[in-house]
């Protein structure tokens, strides 16, 4: 009798350790998850990051503020516009520069477009993580149109570097408004297709609903932001709480759910696509006339002090914390990147679920690895 008990005890200790990554089809980059399994059930996850740690914070200490912008492009490459904007807003706030409305409106449109393309890519890769390969191509097909808009105006597709302290690098392209309107018209037709293929699909629902639930308390304690937190009911949209650029002039809803499972994290992003389109539609015809950039000093020096700027990227709140000693280089720059913080909750969410659910949960948190490592 005693012997039998002992065997069971040792069996429970026997963990099957699987290394997921750094090269794995569904970690979306070089994230490495050391997963302890018991059968198919996940017992523990240890994320190992740092495979593309580039030391952006250290690099920022030796370059000037306009030069920081091109590094922020490379953190969360799907929210490049918002990342750029955080630096510009911080510098403008510190120097108390008054920004004309035209710049604000264009920045808002660009941010929303960039959120839209990020969520499209989320939809695409989430579908692929769950095994629906076709979603990936439909998502990319539609995202390509936004990238074309970006390319026409900014010259870059993902790495846009469009904002600069005091305004924008160039004025919008003459075709910009027409193209955006065409895109919205096109995408409003295609979005129901997304729902038919994935959202309504019975397999998809079974795979996602009830998987990896995140309670409101946990979301707050783990510091989760963005659509992942809003699916749990945490109202954390910086665009609502601390409106920057032209967000105080537009009407949009903060998408909130209370369930917090994988399905609702997905739905939060899905609904945000609609909200983004509404926001763009409100602004695209009302871009005020004016200069596209304010004349700034050739060498930008922030007054001594500490500055903090939050922006809402597609994945959550990006905080930019800068300590300036009055030089043209910042003394210390800290990026509070949403992905890095969201990674912390992965173990908590996926424990006790199957290995296939781990993929779904990690997919629904929508990681961008370069943003974690910085």
């Amino acid at each position: 009798m005693e012997e039998k008990v002992e065997i069971i005890a040792t069996d429970e200790k026997q963990e099957f350790i699987v290394n997921m990554g750094p090269q794995h089809p569904s970690t979306h980059g070089v994230l490495r998850l050391v997963v302890s399994l018991q059968g198919e059930t996940v017992k523990n996850i240890q994320p190992h990051i740092g495979y593309i740690h580039r030391g952006i914070e250290k690099m920022c200490e030796s370059i000037t503020y306009p030069q920081i912008i091109h590094l922020t492009d490379r953190m969360d490459y799907l929210s490049a516009h918002q990342n750029n904007e955080s630096v510009c807003l911080l510098v403008e706030k510190a120097l108390e520069v008054d920004i004309p409305d035209r710049i604000k409106v264009i920045r808002t449109i660009m941010s929303e477009l960039s959120r839209l393309q990020s969520h499209q890519l989320f939809w695409a890769t989430f579908g692929m993580d769950l095994g629906g390969q076709t979603c990936y191509f439909y998502g990319l097909r539609d995202r390509e149109m936004i990238l074309d808009i970006f390319e026409e105006t900014t010259g870059g597709r993902m790495i846009v570097s469009y904002n600069c302290p005091g305004g924008l690098m160039y004025d919008i392209h003459p075709n910009f408004q027409k193209r955006v309107k065409d895109f919205i018209k096109y995408f409003r037709k295609k979005l129901p297709e997304y729902d038919t293929i994935l959202t309504g699909n019975v397999i998809f629902r079974e795979r996602t609903s009830g998987i990896g639930p995140l309670t409101l308390q946990d979301a707050i304690s783990y510091g989760i932001t963005g659509p992942s937190a809003r699916a749990s009911g945490l109202s954390c949209d910086v665009r609502k709480h601390e409106p920057y650029s032209a967000y105080d002039k537009v009407k949009f809803n903060e998408v909130l759910f209370s369930e917090g499972d994988t399905y609702h994290r997905y739905m939060a992003r899905n609904d945000e696509m609609r909200q983004s389109m509404n926001t763009i539609e409100q602004l695209i015809d009302n871009i005020p006339e004016g200069p596209y950039a304010v004349k700034m000093k050739p060498v930008i020096k922030l007054p001594e002090g500490e500055y903090f700027q939050r922006v809402e990227t597609a994945r959550g709140e990006l905080g930019l914390f800068v300590i300036s000693d009055g030089n043209k280089n910042p003394y210390r720059v800290k990026f509070r990147s949403p992905n890095f913080v969201n990674l912390g909750v992965l173990n908590h969410l996926a424990k006790g679920f199957k290995i296939a659910d781990l993929i779904a949960i990690a997919g629904s948190l929508d990681f961008v690895i370069p943003d974690m490592d910085r």
């Binding site: 740092g50 304690s221 509070r336 990674l343």
Partner: protein, 151 residues
């Protein structure tokens, strides 16, 4: 609570704490010894309820090493900044707040990795991005002849 009320609130907790009202946030300078108890009170006090830590950054002030905590309350929607610093560069030790806010866990690992500040009572203090062959690159006295080229 606005910045002024927050200042009074902090003073009511501990008279000796230095409170500054900055451009954006009320800043509290805390000695490392008092950090944990103050954080605990800020988290649990009904009036304050700073339940959301939205940033934690380690700073090398040249002589001192410090940590800056940005806290917010999702209930009352006010923010506060805690600052702590230690002058021990050889073995800097600061209490871990991972037991109060779960998100501090990863943040503190990052600070340990890049600045070498040891967080006592941290559940899992390992290096995060780099391996042990590196020094602490975010310190101002970090030297790397190969990778950091200055002209």
């Amino acid at each position: 609570m606005d910045n002024k009320q927050l200042e009074d609130f902090i003073k009511s907790i501990d008279q000796d704490l230095e409170v500054r009202i900055g451009k954006q946030f009320t800043e509290v300078i805390v000695p490392p010894a008092k950090l944990y108890s103050l954080a605990r009170q800020l988290r649990e006090n009904e009036e304050a309820q700073f339940d959301f830590m939205f940033n934690l950054s380690g700073v090398d002030y040249g002589h001192d090493l410090g940590v800056v905590y940005h806290l917010r309350s999702t209930v009352h929607n006010h923010s506060i900044v805690l600052k702590t610093r230690t002058s021990d560069r050889e073995n800097p030790q600061i209490d871990s707040l991972a037991g109060i806010w779960e998100t501090a866990n990863l943040h503190e690992r990052e600070v340990y990795d890049l600045l070498g500040i040891r967080f006592t009572n941290h559940p899992d203090l390992r290096r995060l991005f780099l391996d042990s062959s590196w020094g602490f690159p975010l310190r101002k006295d970090y030297v790397d002849d190969i990778n950091i080229v200055t002209k």
